[in-house]
């Protein structure tokens, strides 16, 4: 089956998936106690009624749901309930590039460091180099980012002022959050690469290549690495998704104006429109990434077929 066909079918399959996600999110938001216009300081009854009417929250739930579906099809989520001067689409447009940039740097760093570490560890299997890099990787995976972030801040911006402790202005401010976010991924990618390489290095065609007298460098980079990093490639899809959607802790610690914070705050504030908009946006983003990975896989490994 050709790629175009495959991609089209997968894109069409996204529609029912998105419908299910939208419906679940819609009703789960409504099930949560409270509402968008509840505050520590009471809102006068008249004012609350006025707001409910304005946003159509006084309608029966079924009609609200239909209205929401209709708006979603038109990609119109309306204004945020909490920040009425801003449209949800506008918030996503402004905040997502920030999360995406943070995630992209972190992922790039993870690949640039993780793959070489994994390759070296595999080539020097069961030597101190291997043990040291795998021990470091274990620490990288185990230390949660809400610990690593503050420790980096303590070391590099408060004890010695090398980088600002937070915010998102200028390249210096990117260093600590990117490092914090990528640490776990560097470690994970290093372990995956090592495992993948070890498996490939034991295979017959590598032995043949060696026997033919090809230089080690050539064997490793030309033949082994291409297959050895396949596990990394399949990890990249979910990793990219997780890194972009899961940077909420980093965004909070470093006060980065990304989309993750909007989603979490939106849920706390019962900002129905904002949460629905961001959830659907993330859903599309995740599905597209998975699709990209599947297609990329076939390019790297001819044994894999698109079905």
């Amino acid at each position: 089956m050709d790629t175009v066909n495959f991609v089209t079918r997968r894109l069409l399959m996204m529609i029912p998936t998105l419908w299910v996600i939208a419906t679940l999110t819609f009703f789960m938001m409504r099930l949560a106690p409270g509402g968008p216009f509840l505050a520590e300081r009471d809102i006068p009854v008249a004012a609350k009624e006025q707001l409910m009417r304005k946003y159509g929250l006084d309608l029966p739930l079924g009609r609200q749901y239909l209205r929401f579906l209709g708006n979603t099809v038109r990609f119109d989520f309306g204004p945020s309930y909490k920040f009425p001067q801003r449209q949800v689409s506008e918030i996503i447009r402004e905040a997502f590039p920030v999360s995406a940039e943070l995630g992209a740097w972190a992922l790039l760093l993870a690949i640039l460091l993780g793959v070489p570490i994994g390759v070296i560890a595999a080539l020097r299997q069961n030597t101190p180099v291997d043990y040291a890099s795998m021990a470091a990787a274990l620490i990288g995976v185990s230390v949660p980012n809400f610990v690593l972030g503050p420790v980096l801040v303590l070391g590099f911006s408060l004890t010695v002022f090398l980088f600002p402790p937070a915010l998102w202005q200028g390249w210096q401010s990117r260093v600590l959050p990117v490092l914090t976010l990528s640490a776990a991924y560097i470690a994970y990618i290093a372990r995956l690469t090592r495992a993948g390489m070890l498996e490939v290095l034991r295979q017959d065609f590598i032995r043949t290549a060696m026997a033919k007298g090809l230089p080690d460098r050539m064997v490793v980079f030309k033949h082994a690495l291409k297959l050895g990093i396949l596990p990394v490639v399949s990890f990249l899809g979910p990793a990219a998704a997780r890194i972009v959607t899961g940077s909420i802790v980093i965004e909070t610690i470093f006060a980065i104006p990304g989309l993750g914070r909007h989603l979490v705050n939106g849920a706390f504030n019962r900002d129905y429109t904002l949460v629905l908009g961001v959830v659907l946006f993330y859903a599309v983003f995740l599905m597209v990434l998975n699709l990209v990975v599947d297609v990329a896989y076939t390019r790297l490994d001819p044994r894999v077929e698109l079905k």
Binding site: K82, P150, A166, F268
Partner: protein, 560 residues
């Protein structure tokens, strides 16, 4: 041993460096002295940078609620009166003088000649009239509309029972004269006119752009600064308004107000010298005992009270003796001094300190004997037969620790079983509003300097009551006070109401809020105030601050 080490290190890791001692050196930190918390190098231009905190929901003055919203609104708009930066007493703002009638029922405000909006259009008394009526119009759905109820017929118009806005007591008799008629003498009316709900808004912009009129590309304002840049969850930038009537007195060229919610992050940014001011509420409470020793830390009373409210519609809390037992069994001193390390004041009253002319009734004090006696009179001698009750609080480390302490106090003193119920903010609000709780953690911050801003919450059926408590005598006392012209008599009525409230105990006062803020020594003209309000008009950067380092007025560490 390992476990202890782990437990010792974990909070350290969380709190990051803000609790580290002043760093030893380094080029950037050269100016740091042991007496200050972090970098004290002034900015090289007249830019003032601070943390405005949680992203404002809106800074439309008529709709704003809460400190971060209000700070932005007040920076770009100005009302008839403006608060004095030190005392918050009303000073002339857009109005240069005013007269009050002998019966205290009407005010005539005279606007300065030649006032203009930031786009050059003239600003007149009609703008004020329109803005106030806008807040009151039911369709506006302004949460703080109640602050305008001092005005004749305002409440009826806001609640929709009066349709004719002409009968509301605010009228522009000509371009520069605004006549306000009150429904009862209101001692604090001039404090209200400086509050953000009373600020003027540009009618033509509001009507043209609706909810989006406050965006930087549309907004027109009349205050000392203009909104130049806004990025959500990041920052606001304000520049000096050249058309402001007193532009000559404005010394800052630019203000950068960040929206950093995280307390540790905010304090770190202050320490690193990014923020010149870390306002109250953005310092983790665990840091306070440590920060006390620094000259740039300021501390004082704040008009807020932390209390527990009791749902009197549930059994056994309908019994006043049960409520009294609970309140006498709370050791406020232990909570404030031991648990919170003295960062708060133990407090046994509902109204906070600092109201001119108000003399508090005696507060509740810890009295285990009396508590047990009350419980016995309620019919539960030594706690026997008392049902299991629960304390509701919203997610926060401090709320949890206080709830645990009170759980232990009630168990030890009254021998009753108490469970804790932690809910996230939205669910907690729903539970307290719908009276689905036994005892709930709450707090209240005053809006103006008068006990009414607290006592008014517990009037029968008030939306902020949230205890189900209703007492005709209490309501009558507050009603009487609201029409009382003589200030001493009025305060006496309010005092009687508070005494009654404490005796009836639908609420359990716990501690008094404090302001805790960090201000760089080179920032001048920014003072600590009782309402934690900080007009930025007169703030300036003193690059020569070392020369007169001896505490200048307002930059000194103030202790109550």
């Amino acid at each position: 041993m390992t476990r202890h080490l782990f437990r010792a290190l974990l909070p350290l890791a969380f709190l990051a460096g803000a609790c580290a001692p002043a760093p030893p050196g380094g080029a950037r930190l050269a100016a740091t002295s042991e007496q200050y918390f972090g970098d004290v190098t002034p900015p090289h231009d007249d830019t003032f940078t601070y943390n405005n905190g949680t992203e404002p929901e809106t800074f439309d003055p008529g709709l704003a609620v809460g400190q971060p919203d209000g700070r932005v609104a007040r920076t770009i708009f100005e009302g008839l009166t403006v608060p004095d930066p030190q005392t918050l007493e009303p000073r002339p703002g857009q109005a240069y003088r005013w007269e009050m009638s002998a019966d205290g029922l009407s005010y005539v405000f005279h606007l300065r000649p030649g006032l203009v909006w930031s786009n050059g259009s003239p600003l007149s008394a009609r703008d004020f009239q329109w803005s106030w009526l806008r807040v009151l119009r039911p369709a506006t759905a302004a949460r703080y509309a109640g602050l305008l109820y001092a005005i004749e017929n305002a409440e009826a118009y806001n609640k929709g029972t009066l349709a004719d806005s002409n009968r509301v007591g605010v009228h522009a008799v000509d371009d520069s004269t605004l006549v306000v008629r009150l429904h009862a003498p209101t001692a604090y009316f001039l404090f209200l006119t400086q509050f953000y709900t009373y600020l003027p808004v540009p009618r033509w912009v509001v009507e043209r752009y609706g909810d989006r009129w406050t965006r930087p590309e549309h907004i027109v304002s009349n205050g000392p600064f203009l909104l130049d840049f806004w990025r959500q969850q990041n920052r606001f930038e304000f520049v000096k308004n050249p058309r402001y009537w007193n532009a000559g007195a404005v010394r800052l060229d630019r203000i950068v107000a960040y929206s950093v919610e995280e307390l540790n992050t905010s304090t770190n940014l202050y320490k690193a010298g990014v923020f010149d001011w870390n306002p109250s509420g953005y310092i983790p409470s665990q840091f306070i005992p440590y920060l006390r020793h620094y000259k740039d830390y300021r501390h004082g009373d704040y008009q807020g009270v932390y209390f527990y409210s009791i749902n009197v519609t549930r059994k056994p809390f309908d019994n006043v003796w049960v409520r009294r037992a609970l309140t006498y069994a709370v050791d406020r001193e232990a909570i404030a001094n031991d648990l919170l390390k003295g960062s708060r004041e133990p407090w046994g009253n509902f109204t906070p300190t600092g109201y001119p002319g108000y003399d508090h009734p005696p507060g509740i004090t810890y009295d285990p004997e009396k508590a047990r006696e009350c419980l016995r009179r309620a019919g539960y001698p030594d706690g026997s037969g008392f049902p299991r009750i629960s304390i509701l609080f919203n997610t926060s480390e401090d709320h949890r620790r206080i709830a645990e302490a009170i759980q232990a106090m009630w168990r030890d003193v009254l021998h009753i079983e108490v469970e804790l119920s932690n809910q996230e903010w939205g669910s907690y609000l729903q539970a307290t509003t719908a009276l689905q709780y036994d005892v709930a953690r709450r707090s209240w911050i005053g809006d103006y300097l008068d006990p009414n801003t607290f006592l008014g919450c517990l009037i029968s059926g008030d939306g902020n009551n949230r205890t189900g408590w209703s007492n005709p005598r209490y309501d009558a006392l507050l009603r009487q006070a609201s029409v009382e012209v003589r200030p001493e008599k009025r305060m006496a009525l309010l005092r009687e109401a508070e005494a009654l409230l404490l005796d009836e105990s639908p609420i359990i006062p716990i501690y008094h809020y404090s302001t805790n803020e960090l201000v760089k020594p080179y920032v001048r003209g920014l003072y600590r105030t009782a309402l934690d309000t900080h007009p930025l008009t007169g703030v300036w950067i003193d690059r020569d601050w070392r020369r007169h380092e001896a505490p200048l007025a307002g930059t000194a560490t103030e202790r109550p």
